[in-house]
Amino acid sequence: MANNLLDQVFSRCRNENRAALVGYLTAGDPNISDSTLLLHHLAIHADIIEIGMPFSDPMADGAVIQAASERALASGCTLADVFSLTQSVRRQHPDVGIVLMGYANTPYSIGFESFAAQAADAGANGVLLVDIPPEECGICREAFQQHQLKQIFLLSPTSSEDRIQRVIEVASGFIYYVALTGVTGAELGETSVIKARVEILRQRTSIPICVGFGIKTVEKAHEIACFSDGVVIGSAFVSIVTASDTKLFDASDPLLKIACNMRSAMKRPKK
């Protein structure tokens, strides 16, 4: 069942005429126990949650997610904690899609096979490694396939025709379209430009296309939900943890509220 969960999520959303809400939080931020509850709260409203694996050198992330990574590592979050957080969310939310997101060195350090086995065992459905482009996915592809983990790849406004083709050939689960040329949480461009790009991709592949990076407001999320299969909200959720001053009762309520609003924004107008 687990291997088709992401597909099921997208088909459910399609039937409900809405985009999937894909929510990101960094595991272990601000500490492991609070992070557990925050992820559970997020999983109430999100269709897919991306659990960030903290890394010492998050090159593709902006200030907000960098700081989250640093808080998580300072709180002692290990890979074992990431897996147990994943398992905990999986137990309470059997229908939510779970994607482990991070940088290649994390799984590489323990070996892709061991990583994939533990990730699948904990209930993850997919993996997104920011610094593994299709050219380098040979080092992990077999391990992920073996354990029925979808490998999600990014496409960006700078991706050429060739690159789009390469990604389509290896991607599974969904394609993560990076809406801007910058790090996570930077300023987003014109919706119409993003829409045009997504439509080009759509002609090329039937894999669901989620759009992310820089989507902060409910309004923007709604605009993008109207033409994509999913909207990824990362920095906007993590900012709530940042602002919470590490006291849980401060973070969980606003997180629930904004996640709920974002979920409503996924609904497309009736045709």
């Binding site: 050198d57 350090s109 323990i110 380098e136 040329t181 910058g182």
Partner: protein
């Protein structure tokens, strides 16, 4: 001068930039297209005689190449054993080998029509070399530098500012070279349209390790010809310090496939056993960082460790992928020098020869002298004196004052 240089590219990585199992292009999707454009521009330029004509003209008349190969006779006598010869990269314009690379990449930036260059810097030498070239070509220049390094290398910060560059302090992570590199990558992701990222060492995603090696290969090519001319033969050993490895690859490349032993000297900091060092090859293991698979200093879960070296230029938790590959293949010999040994070598060379070496190069000196002492007087140890020590005067002064 041009006849010294060999433009044939030997020891090519595979098409994806892999040196054996190392190297590659482990970069975010947004950077893949700019990296491809850079790769295309580099190979096209390398085939173009006009590119090399301009490059060699600048290397000769602006940088001051060829740099001398100097037989340090007094040092050799004091040290006993083999003859010590120094490749004087400290005599280049801006005082370190780094400018060989920034001239090359600066010319590429110009050919690609980029109006802005960015760089990361540790000791500040690469930052200064980038700012210098940007000033000469009339380009905007932003240099990322860890806040800790800015304090250690204050004179270089001021030099970059004088040259018109904007030095941006980096507070993330350990606030040193690796974090400056992260920040420069983040800038480039957003700015690649009009910006050229001049990486300062033989690391990063393909084509940087290859390209930077090719731009520095002039060091070894000159040294090889000079050694034949002045000493009548090749050295027995070529020694260079290794942080990322640019001066080492620059020296070593021409001596591959010869009988010359290549010795890489890593920074042992307070001692390899203390954990406070920057010896990625000796104490690290394979991992993925900054766009390439290479040896890294990291914990069991792949979190990059804070490193320590008295020399900011060696204070990096990784190493160029080609050096990692050469290390595993047994093509280089590995040794290290501690902070204390580097300081001692710094003083010895200064007093014996009237040459003040950079603290980075002092590591190569310390190890080179140690090796030479065990060898015969007719044997030759060639040491890459990669930079001059003016920038390190304050650091050394503070240490020597503490000892008094």
């Amino acid at each position: 001068m041009k006849e010294l240089y060999d433009l044939m590219i030997t020891h090519m990585p595979d098409a994806g930039g892999h040196f054996g199992r190392f190297g590659g292009k482990f970069a975010a999707e947004t950077l893949m297209q700019p990296l491809q454009s850079l790769q295309d521009a580099f190979f096209t330029a390398w085939q173009d005689p006009a590119f090399h004509a301009e490059r060699f003209d600048l290397l000769e008349h602006y940088v001051g190449r060829a740099t001398p190969l100097y037989h340090a006779k007094r040092l050799s006598e004091e040290n006993h054993g083999a003859q010590i010869w120094l490749k004087r990269e400290d005599l280049t314009h801006t005082g370190a080998h780094k400018i060989n690379n920034t001239i090359g990449q600066g010319l590429l930036a110009k050919r690609m029509g980029k109006k802005r260059v960015i760089a990361e810097t540790g000791a500040g030498q690469h930052g200064v070399a980038t700012a210098t070239v940007a000033a000469m070509f009339g380009m905007d220049c932003d240099v990322y530098m860890g806040r800790e390094d800015m304090a250690r290398q204050a004179p270089n910060v001021f030099r970059m500012q004088l040259l018109g560059a904007n030095v941006i302090p980096v507070d993330g992570g350990t606030a040193t070279l690796k974090d400056a590199l992260n920040e420069a990558l983040r800038d480039w992701v957003a700015s690649c349209e009009n910006t050229f990222y001049i990486i300062g060492t033989v690391a990063g995603p393909h084509p940087y390790p290859l390209m930077v090696r090719q731009f520095h290969a002039v060091i070894g090519q000159e040294a090889k010809a000079q050694s034949l001319m002045q000493a009548g033969r090749l050295p027995d050993i070529a020694v260079a310090c290794v942080g990322g490895g640019s001066n080492a690859m620059g020296l070593f490349h021409a001596f591959r496939d010869t009988s010359v032993r290549l010795v890489a000297v890593e920074a042992a900091g307070h001692g390899l056993e203390t954990g406070q060092h920057a010896a990625s090859l000796a104490k690290g293991r394979a991992g993925i960082l900054h766009g390439n698979l290479t040896y890294l200093l990291e914990n069991d879960e792949g979190q990059i460790k804070a490193t320590h070296s008295i020399s900011a230029g060696l204070d990096y938790p990784g190493v160029g992928p080609e050096l990692a590959s050469m290390h595993e293949a047994g093509d280089i010999e590995l040794t290290s020098a501690s902070d204390d040994q580097a300081i001692a070598a710094f003083q010895t060379l200064t007093r014996c020869e009237g040459i003040i070496p950079a603290l980075e190069s002092s590591h190569a000196l310390a190890a080179g002298m140690r090796l030479a002492a065990t060898m015969k007087p007719e044997e030759i140890v060639m040491i890459n004196l990669s930079g001059r020590g003016d920038k390190d005067i304050n650091t050394v002064m503070n240490i020597l004052e503490k000892e008094d």
